[in-house]
Symmetry: C5
Subunit: 306 residues, 5 copies
């Protein structure tokens, strides 16, 4: 599999300060697939959507399920909020790295002016032995002024503590809805660049969707059509520049689609995937199985040097 | 009485820092029922509703009434705001533990965009010798951004000072009203999980109400029906994970209902109850009587190890 | 005159920290009537209403008038804002105590969302040798979130510096207007309790007005009628618990009414009065006369021990 | 010319802290007319209105024009914002005192909710060797809450650094427009008192205008008529109490009017004038001439002692 | 070419503190044209517009393109946001100076109330070895209160660290739209003065456009017509006083226009140009060519002394 991304020309780690380098090295080479790729298990749906996501697999309601899965299936890291990091992570410290998500919000109010407030800090992450922090940035929200100011604080603390910064880069809000929607190629391409410009070490993107009908509302050249799904992913990965890219899955899709998009992101020069419901909404055995298939793709696709 | 909750598999105290452990131990084993359960007396209605709640039992207007009741009837702790903690608690220091409620608001303006501002701090609680702080979080309020930021500060101070954090987890605001209401199973189940994710050591929940008519506006699977009141309580307790759960009573109900819901929450793996008006809107003797009945249920239901 | 209030069972000073105790002792026993009661002269109308209040007695426009009156007529303290405290109080330091009002606002914009911002600090009060600070809290304003946060800061500084806190507890805003109005028994009773809960050492209340027509919009039992003016005052004083209560006069009323309400508040267990326009909108001799009558009532009614 | 103002009974300087005293002494007795009066040259129109004010006299666009004028014509001080203070004042340090205006705003958006944000600090003023700071307070603006909080910070820094505080006291906003307007006697009288109450050492007022038509919307007694222009000025000066008063000119008026209002303010016990466009919208020679006439009035009217 | 601007009477550097002087000297005399002029390459379009600007020249999407261009074509400096400064600048440190743009925003939401939030700090700039910081000020935006407060902080840090401050002075928002628009002579002239007043060392302006139709909505004398494009540029440069002026290009225009406006700004006493898309939306060879033409004009027009 040939990979031509600009991120391959030069190792990300080379330009990083020692703290970030040591911690990212752990995620890329000492845990997970181990070949310089990233496989994250997110368990922040309890705050973002509420417990309703746990009904398809009742066992998943107990956070032990995800922690055990992350540790036993060999993930690069598990990503969660402060409450679970304090009450459940202690038992798994050393067996799987921790990404502390420092902001979050419920989905009860509408998201037309979305802002995700910090409920923990980079210092909390340091105290808990985390190897990275996660921050959700809402590209294009009418409250981007507050969002970017908050992100600045997190980024500066990351620089101060040598903590890698993973930006969940989500288009959101009433303005993006009028320009093709939060899932469009335009929106996600913009989000990828924005996250890089704001100082992300790793960018988490949703899968861009090509939809000729709504893409017409996006600015040129996105409204001109002619882009395939594969093109879109490749563009988005490139827009993130030297920031590593991981792709997320969203709500549960069929297995073939999941594996196909994993291949796409790796081919485009991305660094890995972060699948939540697609993994832990399955029973234990079934979950281990699909994880093995995902890892197989990641291991066979590329190998990066530190 | 068989209890299967996930909170029973492992003692909460085991993962806590020494300060939190010492203080919670006092609430769970040295005061109140003493068998690892929690019986709280709240007296914050004077700020949340005004003096109107004291008319049914005029004696209750003098804060001495509640302090004396908490001390003599053997409560785990009394929960109140800063003014009463400074002016009345000194006489009771040592005889009953104090939970300092650090935020509050009046009910004069409508609560469609509710936010409960901090009027005291964790440091105030430390200075006053409190054994825990209480924080009211309004799940799903349009002002959740301010709420969660404020809660972060309180939680971090709790971590810094080793002070247990009790979260009054109340769904509130115009958005939850459109999704089945603040008292629905959906809303309270979400609140329970949210409080745990935000770092609560103890979660205070209102009794979830099953109402087929309004539950239809909630997201799946809550809108599908088929849940009993008992189911709902069990789910909510489980959603709080390793955070202990105490159930509140709200406005005065009949005694049988009060005792029945006490049984439900203990059966579900909850840790106790926090009844205010249901207790102190009675004359002294009558109050002592109902407290004895509640304690009897708590003592006979479970026994937890530190 | 028999007084049964709960505040009489126990001296307020007993539970106070040394700084507060020393300063309140000065106000209660070394200045003013000197028998444990409080007689304040407020001169904050120039900011709250503008100079229009000075036209009835042109001499009152010069702040010297009020300072001289407070000193010569023997007040417990004079209450004013920072500008006058800095420019006029130096000449009177030692002859009459100072209460620094730390917040205020003009009445130019409507008060449907009233908030009174701090224009000075507790530290300013310490620097100027004040014996207490005054804070205006707007009970039930839609901006109570900002108000209570601001009050927290003032209260904490008071605790830090041992400075007594006097809360001007005023119902205000569009929400209270819909529930019977800012002057109703319901509103003022709530304000009294709220101020105590927020940590006031002294609460300043407006005279509650019984108005069957508008009281119908208040919550039960206030909407049920049957309360006399005297009842209302007694209830409000009691709602403030161990916080001392002083009653204010508002715009100028006739002398008999003024003296009658003075008697009512003292009988109810209140600690004194704070009359501004009712006093200094009179010429010098006439002002001294009415002050003498007020003091006579205060001296003959009660005597409190430190 | 007889002057009876309350400010004459006692020197302002007597109650001031040493730093304020030393700096105000410089403005009152060492520069400008030198007889205890104040003659200020303001050059903040470039920010408040934009360069349009410079077209009538193109030379005035170069800030050198105003600095040279202030130095050569012998002003008490020149008042400007941070940019000019940093880039032009260094050449004039020692030849004319500096008043640093610490806040300002453009007039592009409507001023119905006006707020003038600080763009520099008292510490900047200290660093630049200024002898006073200027602050624009918008009396009665719906954003008075933010305004007064900001002013508190400036006032406290002035107290800390011994820096005299000059308050530009301007009625402004939609609420004052409904009560007779920003230029009315009512509005300016209120502004004068407010500035004094907020701790101003010097108050800058616009000339109050008597307008029977619009004055009817003001509160009593302002709506009752019977006040002359001279009365209004005298009242406003008196409302400022011990704060010194300087009168401004606004947009260019005819010379006789300018000199007449100068006489009025001095007669009323005011301390001087601050004319901008009325002076520097003239060519050099003509400007010197009118300044000489103004100074003549100031010198002949009064003499104040330090 | 004769230049009469006020900025020529005196070198800017003479009044600057040592840190600013050393850094600006580097930009003016050690890099770029080297004759006291400024040639900047901006690459902030990825955040301000998104990746859509990179489609005309796909190579430009990789930030390496702009960094290499700036270094090899001999620019005074490259201007970018924190993300690129951290991930790409290290390889070019020493070969081309860095201007760190400290604020920015996406163009997804409408800009009627535009505010550009800081995503990095002057301290970040110091840490990265930058020689200046860039700040985007939105003249006349309804949120100018927040904007100017934020700018104050940046300006003060610049003074503290001796870091030159470049203000991107852009009229913006619903109010300026009603007064002739963001590109009008009135608006840009005001922006130039405002930036100088706020403490800019260098002001970046868009080319003012003369449009008789919309200029009628501007205040006098801008609405009176009779100004040529050349006049307008000259006025704007002069309004910036001793702050150096660089002109930007906006979206791609034809080459002759680009060179003509370069001549205009240099003739008017401006200090240089900052062209982004007009340069890097060309292939490598073509880009170098147009840069050479621009530099030729800058070198032949003026020569400034330090």
């Amino acid at each position: 599999m040939e990979v031509k991304s600009i991120t391959e020309q030069k190792s990300l780690l080379q330009t990083l300060a020692p703290g970030k380098r040591a911690r990212l090295h752990r995620l890329l080479f000492e845990f997970g697939p181990g070949n310089g790729t990233l496989l994250f298990l997110p368990i922040d749906q309890g705050i973002e959507h509420g417990p309703r996501d746990f009904f398809p697999n009742p066992a998943s309601k107990d956070p032990e399920y995800q922690f055990k899965l992350a540790a036993e299936a060999g993930y690069s890291a598990i990503a969660c909020q402060i409450g679970m990091a304090e009450k459940y992570y202690p038992d798994y410290a050393g067996t799987v790295p921790l990404v502390l998500k420092v902001n979050g919000k419920t989905d009860v109010p509408p998201s037309d002016r979305a802002l995700s407030t910090c409920n923990s800090s980079v210092e909390d992450a340091v105290r808990l032995g985390a190897d990275a922090v996660g921050y959700t940035m809402y590209l294009g929200s009418p409250r981007q002024d507050d969002d970017l100011a908050q992100l600045r604080g997190v980024r500066q603390d990351c620089d101060r503590f040598g903590m890698p910064l993973i930006v969940w880069a989500y288009p959101r809000g009433e303005a993006i809805d009028k320009k093709g929607g939060a899932g469009s190629f335009y929106a996600i391409d913009y989000a990828a660049r924005m996250a890089m410009e704001m100082g992300a070490d790793v960018v988490k993107l949703n899968m861009p969707k090509i939809n000729p009908e709504t893409d017409k509302d996006a600015p040129a050249p996105y409204n001109e059509g002619g882009f395939s799904q594969e093109d879109a992913i490749a563009h988005c990965v490139e827009s993130a520049g030297r920031s590593l890219v991981v792709l997320s899955g969203g709500s549960k899709v069929d297995d073939e689609q999941l594996l196909q998009q994993t291949r796409f992101v790796m081919q485009a020069g991305g660094s890995g995937v972060i699948y939540g419901r697609n993994v832990w909404q399955r029973e234990w055995g079934e979950a281990l199985e699909v994880i093995a298939q995902i890892k197989e793709i990641m291991l066979s696709s590329v190998s990066r040097v530190p």
